[in-house]
């Protein structure tokens, strides 16, 4: 940067910059990639960002074992290959992995249930970081917890690696319906909702064989501050949601989106954009599938163009019925 700038007056890592980064993703498709070559294909196809990970969810599901953050060398290679933003996944509650990703210089961290959770009680305190986070949710309460912890972007969890869009639809519908509910709630109902949302922070109480009560501990009892402070943050996000009638951060759909029509479906449900994991690089022609999903996401409201996008692609990834799954990734995190 030029030495003529007054660096003392420049501010970095603010909430505005974090949420602003997410806003620049609006209308776009974020694609999972595991190699620099795949990142290249994704960028050429019009991806708005790439998500660097070790294995796509379908392979994590098939291989089993603990799924962790990707190897730093691979993430660096992907960052060197592509000019678009690079996101990477950290395990739920794994601040150590998140700090490594921040040090590598990724543009956004996905605190993701696709990886094996590291902390059974708390997610990462995301406000402490300079770079923004995206987190998954299955309903409004979960979304509000993540935003009050500092998430700058929300995505539906869906059910990753299945090629089955039903869970993504479920989560998007629940969030939308619950937002309408809160807008019509009276004060008592609103306070009850706050109490229910706060239950998500009492998992340590529930696990303790003593009568451990976080509220009674002096301070620093959660990674986000005292329970009183957490409650204030939750209330402020909840009230903002009620006022504006949507989540206060960019909201994407993820988990099971495998075809251009799936992407158009979720955009028509009011999502701001799409994450595609296994759907692209597990299809018969990744490059064409990627282009077609970008096209359908862009022209979601024009069935003729979505039809054209669907005609472009060959065979989609094989799909899985949710009922037959051994592991439900959406149940990770809370």
């Amino acid at each position: 940067m030029s030495g003529t700038l007054d660096l003392t007056k420049m501010r970095y890592g603010t909430e505005l910059l974090k949420r602003g980064f997410a806003k620049m993703q609006e209308g776009g498709v974020v694609m999972d990639v595991v190699t620099p070559e795949e990142a290249h294909i994704a960028e050429d196809a019009g991806a708005v960002s790439v998500m660097a990970l070790e294995r796509v969810p379908a392979d994590i599901r098939a291989m089993g074992g603990v799924a962790r953050m990707s190897h730093p060398t691979m993430i660096k290679e992907i960052m060197e290959t592509t000019s678009i933003p690079v996101m990477a996944k950290a395990r739920i509650g794994h601040e150590g992995e998140a700090r490594v990703l921040e040090s590598l210089g990724v543009d956004m961290i996905d605190e993701s249930e696709v990886l094996t959770p590291a902390d059974p009680f708390f997610h990462i305190p995301k406000k402490d970081f300079t770079i923004p986070f995206v987190c998954g949710c299955t309903n409004l309460g979960e979304a509000i917890r993540r935003i009050s912890e500092g998430a700058a972007m929300i995505r539906t969890k869906g059910e990753a690696g299945t090629g089955n869009v039903v869970s993504a639809v479920q989560h998007a519908s629940l969030v939308a319906g619950e937002i309408k509910h809160i807008q019509s709630a009276d004060e008592q109902e609103r306070d009850d909702m706050v109490d229910i949302i706060m239950q998500g922070y009492r998992r340590m109480n529930d696990a303790s064989e003593f009568n451990l009560t976080l509220e009674n501990l002096p301070d620093g009892d959660t990674p986000f501050g005292t329970m009183g402070e957490v409650k204030e943050d939750v209330e402020s996000v909840l009230d903002e949601v009620a006022r504006i009638g949507r989540l206060p951060v960019v909201t994407f759909s993820a988990g099971g989106i495998a075809t251009p029509a799936d992407a158009a479906l979720m955009m028509n449900r009011g999502m701001d954009g799409i994450f595609v994991g296994s759907g692209i690089f597990k299809s018969s022609d990744p490059s064409l599938t990627a282009e077609a999903i970008v096209l359908a996401t862009h022209h979601f409201n024009d069935p003729d163009v979505v039809a054209e996008a669907c005609s472009l692609v060959g065979e989609a990834m094989p799909g899985l019925e949710i009922e037959t799954l051994d592991v439900r990734l959406e149940e990770r995190g809370w």
Binding site: Y12, F21, K23, P85, G105, V294
Partner: protein, 196 residues
């Protein structure tokens, strides 16, 4: 009634919409915002002004050049054919205006470097000085591009750096006025439609 075309190639839309609405209330003007994804939507509605939001320029070139859209290069020809209509391009929108890649002269004559400051942790807020507005403006720079030089009027600076360029009624900014609470540039767009 002023019609403003919002180019929906990809990138921040909601904040441009709310900024335009707020600016119109401030000025007591009635506006209609038209979302434009296809060239046919631009030519059939022929708006009084357009806004080209930022996002990723690689993605915008892709969605714009698709045969279902054809907004690129059609949008550039529309701007050249309508020199009296104000245009506001922010961030990646500024990249498209400075480097249209359609074999014709750029819409603002300036050299621009994409993502010149580095990854997201280098994104920053800093005060901008705008000769167009005649005052300071809160600059929000997100993975921003940088003007290396300009043949046109410089309308915003940060220290000695050029962060805004004006060619006739086309303005290209490397920062994001739509994320700021100051609606000065959106007011300029609407006021320019009304004459001067």
């Amino acid at each position: 009634m002023i019609s403003v075309g919002l180019v929906m190639l990809q990138g921040a839309r909601h904040d441009h919409i709310s900024s335009l609405n707020e600016a119109s209330r401030d000025l007591g003007l009635e506006i209609e915002i038209i979302e434009i994804r296809k060239l046919s939507e631009l030519t059939s509605t022929d708006p009084d002004a357009i806004v080209i939001p930022g996002g990723e320029s690689t993605t915008m070139r892709k969605t714009g050049q698709d045969k279902s859209s054809m907004l690129i290069p059609g949008m550039f020809d529309w701007i050249r054919d309508n020199p009296s209509k104000p245009v506001l391009g922010t961030c990646a929108g500024a990249i498209l205006l400075a480097d249209p890649q359609d074999g014709n002269p750029p819409l603002v004559e300036a050299q621009i470097d994409r993502n010149a400051y580095g990854p997201q942790y280098e994104s920053f807020q800093a005060t901008v000085r705008s000769s167009l507005l005649g005052r300071e403006f809160p600059g929000i720079f997100i993975r921003a591009p940088k003007f290396i030089s300009s043949e046109n009027e410089v309308c915003a600076t940060m220290g000695k750096e050029i962060v805004g360029v004006k060619n006739g009624r086309v303005i290209a900014l490397t920062f994001h006025p739509e994320l700021s609470s100051d609606k000065g540039f959106h007011r300029w767009l609407l006021e320019s439609v009304c004459g001067e």
